[in-house]
């Protein structure tokens, strides 16, 4: 792996870890906020404009109480957080925000710590490298030049010694000196670290990337954190209880609107049909299940249509739907439950109910009441003549 590649990998790793830490530390919310909690959160992020730097949430003055009442009213009137903050900024300028704004000069306050952190890390990393003075770092060309000079000097000594121009002792001494020098040069090629040639331009580019990357990361993280709805996943993994939009708080009318606007979205339609089905509103459920079937042979739709059809007195048709759902998948427990019941009660075939009930009881994840009802029914059909 090249030196450069390894360095980029380390850089990426550090930035990734920082991102994880920042996102992980961001306050996730496990339960949907109540209006009172929301009002308190908003009030604590706004500066009471003339209460010595207190937040509106903390302000003891009567204007503080009036501001809190107004926030309650604004929430009750259905304003979003953004609209509420925008209102106070439009009236008191962005000095009313206790958190510095994300753009303009305020952004500097978010980015600066990261830049300092990054710069510090770079400085530390550089310090830890072996420091080699530039003069000790011969280039390959300089090294070759030095070697040639030594070789020439050695040669000259031999020539002069042969010509008798040098005393034997002096020639021996010079030979020793030059040979030592040559050995040192040979060793230098082996032990010297490769010369680091880093141009100023590369240093500047690196710094620019660090700063821009840090800024982009900060903005991205803060925007993510700010826009996150209560209950959203924070670090991935297990969803908090009631995470996302709690479907139980969505009315059937709302779901109808969503389904009407997005006829291709099957899960929402199934959930809505399931609601009607549970509530015994079979005609409403049937319409949605039929819609689903026009797009997809969905086993749940088939099974529930079959069960409703059976309950309406059409035993054979109901059975056919349930059997079709079992052809699509053999992993839907309710299909076996319906099949067993239809065979036993509708067809008066206790023997035919045994196999589906046994399959049903073989599933691990079935509700306790279904398990006990199935066990009971199994005993009943086995005892039947």
């Amino acid at each position: 792996m090249s030196h450069r590649l390894r360095k980029s990998l380390y850089g990426g790793l550090i930035i990734g870890l920082l991102a994880f830490i920042v996102i992980g530390l961001a306050p996730g919310e496990s339960a949907p906020e109540t209006d009172a909690e929301r009002a308190h959160r908003i009030a604590s992020q706004l500066r009471c404009p003339f209460c010595n730097g207190e937040s509106i949430a903390d302000a003891q003055s009567s204007i503080g109480a009036d501001l809190r009442d107004l926030i309650d009213e604004q929430i009750a009137s259905g304003m979003s957080d953004e609209e509420i903050f925008d209102f106070y900024v439009s009236v008191y300028t962005d000095r009313v925000l206790l958190l510095p704004p994300l753009f303009g000069w305020g952004a500097l306050l978010w980015v600066l710590p990261l830049v300092v952190l990054g710069g510090g890390a770079v400085a530390v990393a550089r310090r830890r490298r072996p420091q080699v003075a530039p003069s000790e770092l011969p280039s390959a060309a300089a090294l070759a030049e030095a070697r040639r000079t030594v070789a020439e000097d050695l040669h000259a000594v031999e020539v002069q010694a042969a010509a008798g121009e040098l005393a034997a002792a002096e020639a021996e001494r010079l030979r020793g000196v030059y040979e030592a020098e040559a050995a040192a040069l040979d060793a230098a090629t082996v032990t010297d670290p490769p010369p680091r040639e880093r141009s100023r331009r590369r240093v500047a580019a690196g710094a620019a990337i660090l700063v821009l990357g840090g800024a982009a990361l900060t903005v991205a993280v803060v925007l993510t954190v700010r826009d996150r709805a209560p209950g959203d996943l924070v670090t991935g993994g297990i969803a908090a209880e009631g995470a996302g939009r709690d479907l139980s708080t969505v009315t059937n009318e709302e779901m109808e609107q969503v389904v009407a606007a997005n006829p291709e979205v099957i899960p929402m339609r199934l959930a809505l049909a399931g609601r009607y089905f549970e509530a015994g509103d079979f005609s409403a459920a049937l319409g949605h299940y039929m819609e689903v079937l026009q797009r997809e042979q969905h086993p749940e739709a088939l099974a529930n249509i079959g069960w409703m059809t059976y309950l309406s007195g059409e035993v054979e048709t109901g059975l056919a739907f349930v059997e079709r759902s079992l052809q699509v998948t053999d992993e839907l427990p309710q299909s076996y439950w319906y099949l067993a019941n239809i065979r036993y009660w509708g067809l008066e075939d206790p023997g035919g109910a045994v196999a589906p009930l046994e399959t049903l009881l073989g599933f691990e994840a079935i509700p306790e009441e279904i398990r006990s009802a199935a066990t009971e029914l199994l005993a009943e059909v086995q005892a039947a003549p």
Partner: protein
């Protein structure tokens, strides 16, 4: 042997220079802002319409909204009985209300952060303007809507119902006439005039 790399400043030098520049810039910004109350800036409401609120009259039945004064030039004064600056400016407001009565200028006094009973006592003591509308800022909705940061604060609305000027601190007859003349003649108005301290209870 020739040196192949020019000697570079040590990294410590760069850090020292960076810290030095940072301190100087920071110090300059701080020094520049000292001695100036950061609260005292023009309201972002300049150029905007007044808030859409209904305010009950202080001494009569019914309520008031700025839409009632469409087409008038309006002087909106926020005051309270506990505010000493409001005492100081009271005469100037009464004189101006009388002087500009025939020029289509309406005066509205909004009792802010105060009880109606003490407000009425204040007017009993110092006198009422004529014509002058005295209304009560229930729940501080008007004060918040105007971005009021303390008392007394006075706003000027032109004939289109746009906020064109603001006086922080006691209004003087000089400021009132200068501003109203400018609006009447279609001239430019200082968006903000600072005449004194703003008070908060």
């Amino acid at each position: 042997m020739k040196a192949t790399l020019a000697p570079r400043p040590h990294i410590g030098t760069w850090i020292a220079v960076g810290v030095g520049v940072f301190v100087i810039v920071f110090g300059a910004v701080f020094a520049n802002r000292f001695g100036r109350d950061p609260d005292l800036v023009a309201s972002p409401l300049i150029g905007q319409a007044p808030p859409d609120v209904r305010l009950p009259y202080l001494e009569t039945e019914g309520d008031f909204g700025f839409a009632d004064l469409n087409g008038d030039i309006v002087v909106v004064n926020f005051w309270a009985s506990w505010c000493t600056g409001c005492r100081v400016e009271h005469d100037a407001l009464l004189v101006a209300a009388d002087a500009y009565r025939d020029a289509g200028v309406s005066f509205v006094g909004i009792l802010h952060q105060d009880r109606p009973t003490t407000g009425v006592r204040f007017l009993d003591e110092l006198g009422r303007g004529e014509p002058y509308r005295y209304v009560v800022d229930e729940g501080s909705r008007a004060g918040i809507g105007f971005g009021v940061l303390g008392l007394p604060t006075t706003f000027f609305l032109d004939r289109t119902g746009t906020i064109v000027g603001q006086v922080n601190g006691p209004a003087t007859i000089d400021v009132l006439t200068r501003t109203l003349d400018a609006i009447l003649l279609g001239g430019t108005v200082d968006p903000i005039t600072q005449t004194g301290e703003l008070e908060n209870r």
